[in-house]
Symmetry: C2
Subunit: 383 residues, 2 copies
Amino acid sequence: MSGRVRELLKSHGTPPREVYLDNENSGWVPPEVVEATLPYFNVKGYGHPSITNKPGWEALELILEFKELLSSVINGEPENVHITHSGTEANNLAILGVKRRGKVIVSDVEHYSVLLPALTLDAVRAPVDEQGFIDLDVLSQLVDSETVLVSVQAVNHEIGTIQPVKEVYEVVKDRNPDALVHVDACDALGRVELNSDYADLMTFSSHKVLGPKGAGALYTKVKLEPPLKGALSTETLWPGVENVPAVAGFKKALELYLEDDLEELRRKRDKLIKGLLSIPDTLLNGPRDRRAPDNVNVSFLRVEGEAITVELSMRGIYVSSGSACTSRLLEPSHVMLAIGRSYEEAHGSVMFKLTRYLTWEDVDYVLEQVPEAIERLRNISPL
Amino acid sequence: MSGRVRELLKSHGTPPREVYLDNENSGWVPPEVVEATLPYFNVKGYGHPSITNKPGWEALELILEFKELLSSVINGEPENVHITHSGTEANNLAILGVKRRGKVIVSDVEHYSVLLPALTLDAVRAPVDEQGFIDLDVLSQLVDSETVLVSVQAVNHEIGTIQPVKEVYEVVKDRNPDALVHVDACDALGRVELNSDYADLMTFSSHKVLGPKGAGALYTKVKLEPPLKGALSTETLWPGVENVPAVAGFKKALELYLEDDLEELRRKRDKLIKGLLSIPDTLLNGPRDRRAPDNVNVSFLRVEGEAITVELSMRGIYVSSGSACTSRLLEPSHVMLAIGRSYEEAHGSVMFKLTRYLTWEDVDYVLEQVPEAIERLRNISPL
């Protein structure tokens, strides 16, 4: 099986220029972030943070420092930060961990790691408009005395919609002060302002801020029942030994991410959007305003998303698509469908997530290659 | 909070010689293993293994290679290997994921990540003898037509008992061919022979073979219902993006671990056991024969385990204890109690897990320092 992939890679070769833009699904981890993880493998803090020996205390010190940093970013308390191994796990903990049973409400465009656990609890889906913004009036009508949890992400992971989480919080609490508000802030951290005053629970992910995979965090003001069981350490809500090197990387990545020049990101985003929309029959997915500074998502009509990702890969441009062919569920992106895109429009969607490592030359290269690629694919496409 | 730990570490200082022996709870990761993870952060395979672009295919290739390696070690099929983020998660998946509901049986000395999820299913605990071996006659009586799952670890994580998993498998299937057998092989991989012929499910952990934290695996021949939900990728039983660098490290670590000289480990183990037992009022925990080649566990009477870990840390020897004071549950190790140790005996227990990086000079250093440490603590102890 691995041999077939090896053959494919051999025939692919390494393009002269490589531009990674699939930072939503995975991430190129900056060397200085990797550097920050290294001591924790075998120089210091390689111990168990609950064991009373030097490598253990060093691990504990790092974990506490991370919690101080993350909580300071959201105006919160370090002891409310709970570490997991991924954002997906933190979202599962938030949704499945709420002890009180009752009505759960999630927006229609939540990440699967919120939506799917919520659906096991028969969650109600709150609709969004054609740019992905939640309808606050409908939400207000949905919240009732039986409601225990409302989950709305701060920034949509596919189309970059910045949700009005403060207003969501106020609408929910106005209708039912006991209902908890969970904010999936994975794509929002370091990109929009976040304040724990307007959430009972908040999710974060290391790899979404260019940290290594292996660490996520849930901020919670309320007690939860962990869905997994095992030996506990500093983390009382997620069993098993803490991935300390990953936490060290998350910490360093976040420090760097917070220094990003968002205005520059926005300019690159806007240049990309403008250039891509000049390709005929191309639609912007998500809003123009109140859009995350690093998100570009467009649909190329009459082209299939997976074909685009492969064609662009040959040109050294690495992206993903909301096409059904790139999904294990064999359905196009539920986000695309929720904002009213047709199947065809969803099939041709391509997401680009920008980072500070994307240069203006990269932007120009993308804008040179993508039109050629789309034209070529349209010429050979049966659609 | 982190300031207090920093003060403690400052007063601790760095001992001239450091010997890490807490490899059960955490692990010192060899530089060559860390090296193997590095390309996957930002040179190749940093993509999402289900996305059709070059960094994604490279990630997929690595994952398939890992599954081929792990399955070959246990005479199994690569497609039965499912990756999680830890051994604890793989154990939870095994225990909570079995779809059929009915009687669950676990040995009395299982790791918490088996025991605690099993207890949520009202599991029956099968007793062990004073060396930790499961009683096959009692097990046979416990297995009935209602039994859906029996979980027995291959090597005990605290006292190194090598369970007769083949006999366990035969006893269970003889009584009920439909009952599944789960083998927690975290501490057994690379230490005792393992064969997937004698298990329906098997758990593995990267950090137990000196790999990085962030990867575990469950081998399963049966379909499971994952306890967490989210976006699926190559892994259909654990949601969220695969921690590819950790899998690369797990692979490299396992390759090296399989080359370990077990006879040499046994000689070091036996020299340590002999030397430690020459300290007055010291008991060996676990068997002399059929004991993992890397496990040493002794109880020093009239000393408290946490005091020992701190005293030895000052001397550069890093160990853990089954004392209640080192447990978040404020109970001494359930393994110690299950083999009939008294609370006092459990409180003074200390575990040493050896690796190929432990030199004969380290062994001599440990045997020089531990007697001094125990004598000093006994002299100042109120016990």
